[in-house]
Amino acid sequence: MLKMSDPVLKVEGLKTSFFTDDGEVPAVGGIDFEVKEGEILGIVGESGCGKSVTSLSIMGLLPSPPGKIVGGHIYYQGEDISHAKESKMRKLRGNEIAMIFQEPMTSLNPVFTIGEQLEEAIKLHNQRLPKKEIENRSVELLKRVGLPRAKELLKEYPHELSGGMRQRVMIAIAMSCNPKVLIADEPTTALDVTIQAQILDLMIKLNKETNTAIIMITHDLGVVAQMCQRVVVMYAGKIVEEGPVKDIFNHPKHPYTEGLIQSIPDLHGKKERLYTIKGSVPKPGSITKGCLFAPRCEFVMDKCRVNTPELSGGEHKSRCFLHQEQGRKEVRT
């Protein structure tokens, strides 16, 4: 049986590849992390580092072909679902593990009403619920995500709503069956800054009310600082640093994390120019030897190009020789 301290979701050595005409592209190259009940975990990283592929792997929604889980395990409440049958996954999706996406403008079906789409989500996992009950619950959900005129909204179509409202509807759909885990893949990237803050507040509120664990995927460390307890930093399909948010902000161990922190606007007061990490993310699979960050790293050493660093450390782990050699010395100078 599941113990209280056991994670709801645990990813172990997950490897996901795309099999394209150019051969195998390892989009996720063996990652481990876990989410506890009611926790908000952040996953950050630049575009293309494998955040979406990770979440789609968990949901069993990889575009396949060409995508395929080629290694590792995904445990939901102790049960490995990485190669579960489609019928099993259908029961989990939306019901136990829900997901919201980056594009609120296109994530709702344009030719069905908000009500039809929300009620469908409820009905799918509550077959015997009477129609009246489903409608009441829909109205309740829309109110809970802060949408006005809930009753009329049910009869409206997505194009009649703003982006922020649509994302609230998406959240209402995701929360409709009280999932244990909510994966939010950059839910605010496409929205205005003020709307962004409102949506994040809403998610924090729902997390407190329902104890749903949230995996908050973002490329914005500012969002992580505002929401998460723990954070996983991904780079080129691998985890390079992981730990409590406070520790990572105060004592980043990996030069990449350091760079990400420096590029947050406003966190360290006004800057003349925003800091950016030089260079760009290597194509998956293009670096086979040494540290993946070596071509962009300011602290690169000879052995970084030859040997591959392991993820190590206690609660606060990193994948960098600087720390494995020099103990607790900070990167920041």
Partner: protein, 334 residues
Amino acid sequence: MFYYSVKRILMLIPVLLGMTLIVFAIIHAIPGNPALTILGTKASPEAVRQLNQSLGLDNPWYVQYFSYLKDILTGDLGTSIQTHAPIASEIWPHLAATIELSFVAMIIAIVVGINAGIISAWKQNSVFDYTAMILALIGVSMPVFWLGLLEQWGFSIKLGWLPSIGRDDIRNGVDPITNLYLIDTLLQGRLDQFWMVIRHMILPSIALATIPTAIIARMTRSSMLEVLKSDYIRTAKAKGQRMVWIVYKYALKNAFIPILTVIGLQTGLLLGGAILTETIFGWPGVGLYIYNAIQYRDYPVIQSGILIIAFIFVMVNFIVDLLYGLIDPRIKYK
């Protein structure tokens, strides 16, 4: 939806008027004197003058046009030169024959075409997909008359399974009520005749359905491929919905606008009377009716025939327009 429909209906008026004007102009642009055609070339000038007068042909064109319009509105389509019968009553049995056959052919085309297209898109690059698309390519490029002859040779002559000519057996003719034989035989409770009528429809309707089936299948496939990639389909999957349901309900409704467009066009084409198919299968439809009229230079019949076909085209398009608004809520606002 109400305002959208009203707007569409109002827009019909100028279209229909324009249509009658064009048909009127075409007939009047054809050289030759109708009176001479009616009376024969040996008629005396006096007789021609009198007939011209009684037909109103000596009036200015706009007077003629308005009287023509008045006739149409009162349901008077003129009289056939060949049979001296009123065209309005003469044309209906032919029209009914064409409507019945086109309807059955389109049902086949829609059911087969849409399903083939959906499965091809869903199982893209599968054996089914390749087979269906090769068949569709053959379907659009195969001459219908050739397919019709092939069917007759195989299923009528060689196998003797199905009749190859006409709407019913000569010795067991259907008593027309509406002239839609499927309905008539049912109204009369003649199930044996109903079955006979169906047997007569099988070969011509399949021949007629090939091209629309192929076109609908290809359009469905490409439209569905586009939709299946979209974010809202991913959302539906993330809710835990079944793929069959996602494909047939969510994706299809989104993919339907271009499919509806080709369905409308193909229906219009079939209703216009497929002369070749009707000739091969001895199907007494409008195509055959107008074809005969052309051979006899029966101008009033030609004129009314063209008018009715044009009218059907306009009405099919009108219905398609209304359906657009019903399927896609965004259309009303454009």
